[in-house]
């Protein structure tokens, strides 16, 4: 037998009888391979197909730590996970019902997340001794029994793809680029999705390269037919969801924050200066802002994070909306300028896309351990406003809220996002620009006294350049009335208290904490930031089993909503999951004097729904 015949002999070649379809409410698939396998694109196309069909979707890419790792190694594996649902899905999915592994390294890195009985699509062409060794396999998992608990489709994808595209006149490199469409075809059949949205995308994307359209389409169809014929027999169907009518897109947290910033500039009609130093995982926001630039939005790549925030303060002094984005170590560098922002009472927004720390830590991994730094990480008494973003789409709302509050209080606002939110994507209902209400901003006018605060203790925004308002600001303490530099003891205390009161009084300008579920009861699960999705999904799961669980998401971390204590006291137990060592729990105990049950995880990964649901179950049982 030729090698081709040998490989095919391992595969069923006769069309199978009509396959059985299993209906489930949601399912997750992960595409994993070398960076050169284009798994992010393939995963994204699968997502589009599912969304076009009518599923809800939630996706999470997984990046290799290095830019160009040696091919075939564990370090070089890149992956893309898609969770599709017939109802709203809040997470990328805890475990997988299907896994595509383009090489042995991808299998080694991701097999543990595949459910028993799940479908594994493996590119058999790469399971050769050299590649197996690079990935740490001593024997071939396709044949040694390792995969006995899974439904395995071991397809020689390289060869089958070459065969599928052989009739098209392509150079070998282009032919090889089509390779990812083959497993995409398999996956689309497996999930009972039509090919049309992918075919349409190919036609639009390669409009100038008809040969590529033809070849990729052939590879896709061949994969689809192979799956039909290979004896899998069982398809997974996740039926259509019924979202509210409207225009939808997929959006990741980075895009939603960027769109929120552009919208804030649009609503306020105040020019924006966005200055940032590229640090993973915040660097994508700098890139996205560069892409979304508008005539009244200037984007600066600063020399470091210190410069970025100082530049923002200079811009704010000149009457612009200043925004910077960074991650934990950058926020540490900015603590000096944050003090200056507090002292000079200039509005600005600092977005912290948290990553696993301390120090360089795990730059591509997620964590929520910058909370106390954001709240307190400054010299002197320097209160700021702190908000948390909770879902990929929420960035849009939360950064606009940050801009509103920064101007309302003439103070810095820190937005806590994280690496997970920056990369994860969900379905998002697209608003119309015309529906975005105006956010009027009032600047001081000539003759207006600059030292007279309003009822919240906020002084007017006097933009440099305005005739007649020439004044000097700085980091030195000021006399409350004259504004002159003052080292007077009583004045300093008065000013420190005034700055604190100004931030505290902002609690009147923010919405109260709301609860999903019973208004009182045994268990409230309180979350902040990106844990919100897993908490929601876990609560739904437990409620379906009859548990009466309330959930709440704390978007406003400083100041806290005025009813926070009252809400927490309505429940016998409050569970607080956080991706840190219990920072918010510590804060709530100290500030509100309430007992909360802290649930922590510091692995650079989000909570799974199962982890939280199991803790909910335990606590429900105990009560």
């Amino acid at each position: 037998m030729t090698s081709r015949e040998q490989r095919l002999a391992a595969q069923p070649t006769t069309p199978s009888p009509a396959s059985r379809i299993v209906d489930i409410p949601s399912a997750a698939i992960r595409f994993a391979g070398d960076a050169s396998d284009g798994m992010h694109l393939i995963g994204s196309l699968f997502t589009s197909a599912a969304a076009a069909f009518g599923n809800t979707v939630f996706t999470l890419p997984d990046f290799p730590a290095e830019i160009r790792s040696p091919p075939g190694t564990l370090a070089g594996v890149s992956a893309f996970q898609v969770h599709l649902g017939s109802h709203e899905v809040y997470t990328p999915g805890d475990s997988l019902q299907a896994l595509v592994a383009m090489n042995p390294a991808a299998l080694a890195a991701h097999l543990r997340d595949l459910d028993s009985g799940g479908v594994l699509v493996a590119n058999a062409d790469t399971f050769i001794p050299d590649e197996l060794m690079k990935a740490g396999w001593t024997t071939n998992p396709l044949t040694d029994g390792t995969l006995k608990d899974y439904r395995v489709v071991a397809a020689p994808i390289d060869m089958l793809n070459r065969e599928a595209v052989s009739a098209v006149n392509l150079i070998p490199r282009e032919a090889s680029r089509c390779r990812g469409y083959y497993p995409l075809g398999i996956a689309l059949w497996l999930f009972d999705k039509p090919l049309d949205s992918t075919l349409r995308w190919l036609r639009e994307t390669y409009a100038k390269n008809p040969a590529m359209i033809e070849a990729a389409s052939r590879s896709l169809r061949a994969g689809f037919q192979f799956a039909q014929a290979c004896g899998l027999r069982q398809q997974i169907r996740v039926s259509k969801a019924a979202p509210a009518p409207g225009r939808y897109r997929r959006i990741n947290g980075t895009e939603s924050m960027a769109l929120g910033l552009v919208s804030a500039a649009h609503r306020t009609k105040v020019p924006m200066v966005f200055a940032s130093f590229p640090l993973t995982p915040a660097s994508e926001l700098l890139r996205t802002m560069t892409e979304y630039r508008q005539p009244d939005i200037q984007v600066v790549q600063a020399e470091d994070d210190v410069a970025a925030l100082n530049l923002v303060l200079g811009a704010a002094f000149g009457g612009a909306l200043g925004v910077t984005a960074t991650t934990g170590p950058g926020l540490s560098l900015q603590s000096e300028a944050l003090g200056l922002a507090v002292m000079t009472e200039l509005p600005c927004v600092i977005i912290d896309v948290q990553r696993a720390g301390p120090s360089t830590g795990m730059p591509t991994r997620t964590e929520q351990a910058d909370l106390l730094q954001a709240l307190h990480g400054r010299h002197g008494e320097a209160p700021v406003i702190v908000l948390a973003m909770s879902t990929p789409g929420d960035g849009f709302e939360v950064v606009q809220e940050a801009v509103r509050l920064a101007i309302r209080a003439m103070a810095p606002v820190i937005v806590l996002a994280d690496a997970y939110l920056a990369h994860a994507a969900q379905m998002w209902r697209v608003p119309a620009a015309a529906d975005l209400s105006e956010m009027p901003v009032t600047f001081a006018v000539p003759g207006q006294p600059l030292r007279v605060p309003d009822d919240r203790g906020v002084k007017p925004w006097a933009a440099a350049g305005t005739p007649g308002l020439e004044h000097r600001i700085g980091g030195l303490e000021r006399h409350a009335v004259t504004g002159n530099v003052s080292y007077d003891a009583e004045n300093h205390e008065r000013m420190v208290r005034a700055r604190a009161a100004k931030i505290a009084s902002l609690a009147h300008d923010i919405p109260p904490l709301t609860v999903d579920g019973p208004e009182t009861g045994d268990l409230l699960v309180l979350g902040w930031g990106s844990t919100c999705g897993a908490i929601q999904a876990a609560a739904n799961r437990c409620r379906a089993r009859g548990a009466n669980i309330a959930t709440a998401n704390l978007r406003y971390l400083a100041p806290l909503p005025r009813n926070t204590l009252a809400v927490l006291r309505r429940y016998r137990k409050v569970l607080l999951p956080e991706l840190n060592m219990g920072q918010l729990a510590q804060l709530l105990r100290a500030v509100l004097g309430v007992e909360v049950i802290s649930m922590t995880k510091v692995q650079g990964r989000s909570f799974t729904v199962a982890e939280i649901a199991s803790r909910m179950d335990e606590l429900s049982r105990d009560s």
Binding site: P295, D304, A433, G465
Partner: protein, 335 residues
């Protein structure tokens, strides 16, 4: 078309109501006075001028002027000023800094503001010592300087601010001295007129902690032999009798006496507009007592400003309408 005549402002119109609190005899007084004169010559209304400073004695200067002012944190003034310039491109933005402020904490920001050619007027008061923190050596203290933190004399090689500014691709680089008020006011006016980042080092005497460090440049009995006044297009001549000159011997500068077979034509001719700042750099390395030190404009060239390039680059990429951005490249309708 009507023309508006601006009210003529005098130097005194740029005084604020704050009491000036520098030590008696400080060189800063003279700089403040010359600055006010330079400002009065600009024909700009006060609201179109801002002074941004860092910390240290020099950092207090914005409080003594009636323009907009931002007294920032240690070393960060160039970054703050860059932001202000982006928000208010029509304003003339000055940065006031010192050798500690600009060259210790703020060295990064200074370098990047200069290489970007942000239209800022950066004046560095160099007294070669930390003053406000009470007399420690600074990054420009010359070797052997005795201070409270260098009781045996400093052993750290000092930075040369002009060399640094040239290496940072600054388009206008000059040096002047606190007591030579006419020279200072000419330099400040030229810096103000320069379109782009202007860097001016001012030798400034600290009466308390480093008194007399620039005596060779101020003492009229020796000054002529220790200073070269740079003049564009003119030979590099100095000395009481204007017969000492500088010529190039290979890559080495050499002091020669005109006469005895050496003529003016043998001397280096100063060209502040040279595209390559190689000779300017060489001049920035001349340090006494071996060489005379240069005062004047080392470099004065034109290059597009950062704020202009930033606006141009934004304008060149067709901004997508907000609705298109919101919808993204792949949206669908659910009916």
């Amino acid at each position: 078309m009507t023309t508006t005549t601006l009210p003529l402002l005098t130097p005194n119109d740029f005084s604020s109501d704050r009491e000036v609190r520098w030590c008696p005899g400080c060189g800063d007084f003279s700089i403040l006075a010359q600055l006010k004169k330079a400002l009065a010559s600009l024909n700009l209304p006060r609201e179109k001028i801002a002074f941004v400073s860092g910390l240290g004695c020099a950092g207090r200067l914005p409080y003594y002027l009636s323009t907009y002012g931002f007294h920032g944190t240690y070393g960060r003034a160039p970054a703050i000023a860059t932001g202000l310039k982006l928000a208010q491109p029509d304003m003339q933005v000055w940065v006031v800094t010192g050798d500690g402020d600009a060259l210790s904490t703020g060295a990064t920001h200074l370098i990047h503001a200069l290489r970007r050619n942000v239209d800022l007027k950066i004046i560095l008061f160099n007294n070669e010592v930390f003053g406000l923190s009470k007399g420690q050596y600074s990054p420009t203290s010359r070797l052997g300087t005795l201070t409270r933190t260098s009781p045996e004399g400093t052993f750290e090689t000092p930075l040369r601010p002009i060399s640094l500014a040239l290496a940072a691709e600054a388009t206008f680089v000059a040096r002047t001295i606190d007591v030579d008020v006419n020279h200072m006011s000419t330099i400040l006016e030229k810096a103000a007129a320069h379109r782009g980042g202007a860097f001016v080092e001012i030798y400034q005497n600290c009466k308390i902690f480093n008194d007399g460090v620039f005596e060779y440049a101020t003492d009229t009995s020796i000054k002529a032999d220790s200073i070269i006044y740079l003049e564009h297009g003119r030979p590099l001549l100095f000395g009481k009798d204007r017969n000492q000159g500088l010529r190039l011997n290979g890559f080495e500068p050499e002091i020669v006496t005109v006469g005895h077979g050496i003529t003016i034509d043998d001397l280096l001719i100063h060209d502040e507009r040279a595209i390559e700042p190689t000779l300017a750099f060489l001049l920035s390395r001349l340090i006494g007592p071996q060489y005379p030190e240069c005062l004047g404009i080392f470099r004065n060239v034109q290059r597009a400003t950062y704020e202009q390039l930033l606006r141009d680059s934004a304008a060149s990429s067709a901004a997508r309408p907000l609705d298109a951005l919101l919808a993204g490249d792949d949206s669908w309708i659910v009916s």
